[in-house]
């Protein structure tokens, strides 16, 4: 399948021949074999141009800022702030080199980001898998209310969560520490992971556990050895999305972190000073922050729809 919809029985069989017809890469809406050229075919030649043009515009709009950031990160000081855009220039690694030498060395920031985002995502996946499984299988009364409470903690405005958390963290000494950041990130990653993993577990037929129980497993063994391996893609997707959310966070980090825990987005914003911005270094940091998450995101693209709609669309 070309998209992330999981193949389910509810998807009508008619899509199958269509896949085959589409496979030959001819015609916009190809007629099924045997039916003469559809009336759409005539108008499609014109509309094909329109489609191509629109997509080209969308690509341009999407990619130009990213390409510009990448290019600028290899420019020297004069080219970065040149009044006429420089497309051809002598590339230099100075911006990246300056990031790792000198007073504000980026190393610790990267380390803090990796630690805080990584641990938070890992914890979210572990606890989320357990709780998600429980949520998917439980028959308890008030299950809907429980599910709503979980998701509402994820939907809560960041700014409204940060304020009381700041007070609590200050009280128990979690300001400017990696555990503090991990906990802060869990406020949005944990509900997300629970909800998402429960969507993935709901896809696994309960009869599989039944067979495992008949075969003599305890429920925990059935979960560990039969069900969990079947949701490997769910675990990876959840981990990656949690990682991206935490890695990209600025709102929590700017409030809770200090010299011992500042993350990459903070490093980027600190380049903005009263005396101006070193755009060369900034575009270099931008590249360092953005590229790994893009690669991670694309790696789980097949399951992105499930992930980003919290399973609501897959269930269709």
């Amino acid at each position: 399948m070309s998209t992330s919809m999981t193949p389910r029985s509810s998807v009508p069989q008619q899509t199958r021949p269509d896949q085959a017809v589409r496979g030959n890469g001819h015609g916009v809406v190809a007629a099924p074999p045997g039916v003469p050229q559809s009336p759409l075919e005539a108008s499609s030649r014109r509309s094909r141009w329109v489609v191509a043009l629109l997509l080209a515009a969308a690509l341009l709009w999407t990619l130009v800022p990213l390409i510009w950031m990448l290019l600028s990160s290899f420019k020297n000081r004069a080219d970065v702030t040149s009044a006429t855009p420089q497309v051809l220039f002598a590339p230099t690694l100075d911006n990246y080199r300056n990031l790792f030498t000198g007073s504000n060395n980026l190393g610790p920031y990267i380390w803090h980001s990796v630690l805080a985002a990584g641990i938070s995502a890992l914890l979210a996946v572990c606890l989320g898998a357990l709780a998600g499984y429980g949520l998917a299988r439980t028959q308890m009364r008030g299950k809907k209310h429980l599910a709503f409470w979980i998701i509402s903690t994820r939907m809560a405005p960041i700014a409204a969560v940060v304020v009381p958390l700041f007070l609590i963290f200050r009280g128990i000494g979690l300001i400017d520490s990696i555990p503090g950041l991990v906990l802060a990130y869990l406020t949005f990653n944990l509900p997300f992971a629970i909800w998402l993993m429960s969507a993935f577990f709901a896809e696994v037929p309960a009869s599989l556990e039944e067979s495992a129980l008949v075969a003599g497993c305890t429920r925990w063994q059935a979960f560990r050895t039969v069900i969990l391996p079947l949701t490997k893609s769910g675990l990876v997707t959840t981990f990656v999305l949690c990682l991206v959310f935490a890695w990209n966070d600025y709102a929590f980090a700017v409030v809770f972190s200090g010299p011992n825990s500042q993350t990459l987005p903070i490093a980027a914003s600190q380049l903005v000073t009263q005396t101006g911005i070193d755009w060369g270094q900034l575009t270099a940091i931008g590249t360092i922050v953005v590229v790994p998450m893009m690669l991670a995101g694309l790696a789980v693209r097949r399951w992105l729809v499930t992930g980003l709609t919290l399973g609501a669309v897959t269930g269709e």
């Binding site: 919809m5 998807v11 899509t15 007629a31 099924p32 039916v35 759409l40 108008s43 629109l54 997509l55 130009v64 510009w68 600028s72 702030t81 009044a83 606890l127 989320g128 429980g134 998917a136 299988r137 439980t138 028959q139 308890m140 809907k144 599910a147 709503f148 998701i151 509402s152 903690t153 939907m155 405005p157 700014a159 409204a160 969560v161 940060v162 304020v163 009381p164 869990l186 406020t187 944990l190 629970i194 969507a199 309960a206 039944e210 979960f223 709102a251 911005i277 575009t283 940091i285 931008g286 922050v289 953005v290 893009m294 694309l298 693209r301 992105l304 709609t309 609501a312 669309v313 269709e316």
Partner: protein, 311 residues
């Protein structure tokens, strides 16, 4: 999902008493699985929520340890009588409608185009998705770079089209710029979700319409849109709730300015709390935001429920 396993004899070894009444309200295996996550989540959400309520009725002192001094309704009265605050809500709503509206329109448009592409669709989609994974702070700072009046690429393009003003320096254009930055980042999400919806529309129905000579817009209006309405709803509501949450882009580009033009509620809350350290008042604003987002989330879940999309 039916709890078949409960009635099977094999289970009686691990849970002998549960075989007859699967619905009895006691902590079973599922409950034990949920416990660690839910306890942590409760600690991370209920405690701050209670703190938020307490703070909204207090003046918060931070010097020499945290102290709350009860001030009754002072913060709330201030909240309701603050004219600037009402302007911020208005701005928030405009910002919200513009970003989500543009994202929906463009996202659905891109998805419809992508759906007609046969070769290279996956590569195209991957490229179009990239902004979603960019940190909003970087998006904002990059936006500042691109719109800088002396060396920004987009400012240069606009200059050659005849516009010479400072984009982030005047209210209307600054507002438009922060809206477009958000649109740049999140339109791909809508396109991705819509494309998934389109892929589930049976091809035979579309062909039947085509054979009957239905014009493209009619196929779109009467066949495609009804078929993907549910998916669009999910996309709309997911995006709505995230649009209320985020503020990073504005915080690093305009900081609410110029002349408060981009000061939406989250920005005001942030500066109230962490620039003026008026945490009590910030808590009142936060509670109002929370109520607003829960209202939207409720609507979301109810709509999905009536359409049978939740499990």
């Amino acid at each position: 999902m039916a709890h078949v396993a409960d009635s099977s004899p094999a289970l009686s070894r691990s849970a002998p008493t549960r075989s007859t009444a699967p619905k009895e309200p006691r902590v079973g295996f599922e409950g034990r699985m949920m416990t660690p996550g839910l306890i942590l989540l409760a600690a991370l959400s209920i405690l701050p929520f209670l703190a938020l309520i307490a703070m909204s009725f207090s003046r918060v002192r931070l010097l020499g340890g945290v102290r709350l001094e009860l001030v009754a309704l002072t913060n709330w009265i201030r909240f309701l009588t603050d004219a600037d605050m009402w302007m911020s809500w208005l701005r928030t709503i405009i910002y919200f409608v513009l970003t989500v509206g543009l994202e929906m329109a463009l996202g659905v448009g891109i998805a419809l185009c992508l759906y007609r592409v046969l070769r290279g669709r996956n590569v195209l989609l991957s490229l179009l998705l990239l902004p979603m994974f960019a940190a909003p702070v970087i998006v904002g700072l990059l936006g500042r770079y691109l719109t800088d009046s002396t060396f920004g690429l987009y400012a240069w393009v606009l200059r050659s089209l005849g516009y010479t003003g400072d984009i982030l320096g005047s209210p209307a254009t600054a507002f438009a710029a922060v809206v477009l930055m958000d649109v740049w980042e999140w339109t791909p999400l809508i396109a991705l979700i819509t494309l998934a919806g389109l892929s589930s529309v049976p091809q035979s129905v579309r062909e039947a319409a085509a054979v009957d000579g239905a014009p493209a817009w009619m196929t779109l209006r009467y066949i495609i849109f009804p078929a993907i309405a549910n998916v669009l709803l999910v996309a709309l509501l997911i995006r709505s709730m995230d649009a209320i949450r985020y503020f990073d882009i504005i915080w690093v580009t305009t900081n609410g300015g110029p002349a408060d033009a981009t000061k939406i509620v989250p920005i005001r809350l942030y500066e109230t709390a962490f620039r003026f350290f008026d945490l009590g008042y910030a808590a009142a604003i936060g509670l109002a935001m929370l109520a607003f987002s829960i209202f939207i989330a409720r609507t979301f879940v109810r709509l999905l429920d009536t359409r049978g999309l939740t499990r």
